[in-house]
Amino acid sequence: MEIKILKNVMIKNDAIGNDNRLLFRKHNIFSLNIMSSPGAGKTTLLENSLSYLNKKYRIAVIEGDLYTSRDAERLSPFDIPIVQINTDGGCHLDARMIHGALQSIDLNNLDMIIIENVGNLVCPASFDLGEKIKVLVYSITEGADKPKKYASMFSNVDAILVNKIDLATICNINLEMVCAEIKEINPKAELFQISATNKNTLNSWLSWLDNKKAID
């Protein structure tokens, strides 16, 4: 006799993700999960976006890293709540870790929570954290073949920031071709070409974010 179960194995994570989502909604907090491979530019993007966002919104940041609190220290000049999660070798943040981090943030006085995930182009894609928006930072210096090689990540996000475009020529990258390939994998994602180190390239990304926050 066959007995149907039909349960997604991730149900355990997703249930807590849903709790987080409800908590964000209750406090009217817009939430963002930034993912990328190690060193693609997440913290740099945060540094150069926060100088703008920080003036407009009350923000908290959750930093996910295997070890150290270096990224949290880089953001300390902004004088905002920062929670560092160390996964001790774990390759991704999961909903339970975020739920724990939320306990130490005053959610009543907050407009936005930004989560910097562990640098990894594979595992974080599978774990719902309860966030509103998933953002991928893709550094072109990693090669033009990465979107297709890591399709599960590229196809599962709301925005893709194609980063380090200042290095395109040196790395022999044809930006148009790369973006066309990304569009094939994820036609719905918003695409931005940026240099996270250069604030002037971040305007469209920041106004897109403003807009998403406004309609949340």
């Binding site: 006799m1 149907k4 179960i5 355990k12 390759c91």
Partner: protein
Amino acid sequence: MHEASLAHYALEILNETIKNDSSLNDKDIKKITFSVGKFSNVYAESFEFYFSELIKNTKFTSAKLEFLNSDENGFFVSSIEVDE
């Protein structure tokens, strides 16, 4: 990816199923079927390795493990087969 933690999740789901259906208590589990979605990032062989270790000396220890590919997103515990 993290097949080890998925193996734990899967066993939890199976244990709950058995707990919620007392008629299954004294039945032998012959087969467990999993459905592996295209973008689930689950490598069945690796999952099987961890899961087989986990179910040693449990009710599921002699169950045959079956993995079916699917276009659906995600990795599912699809069904179990028990003795009539």
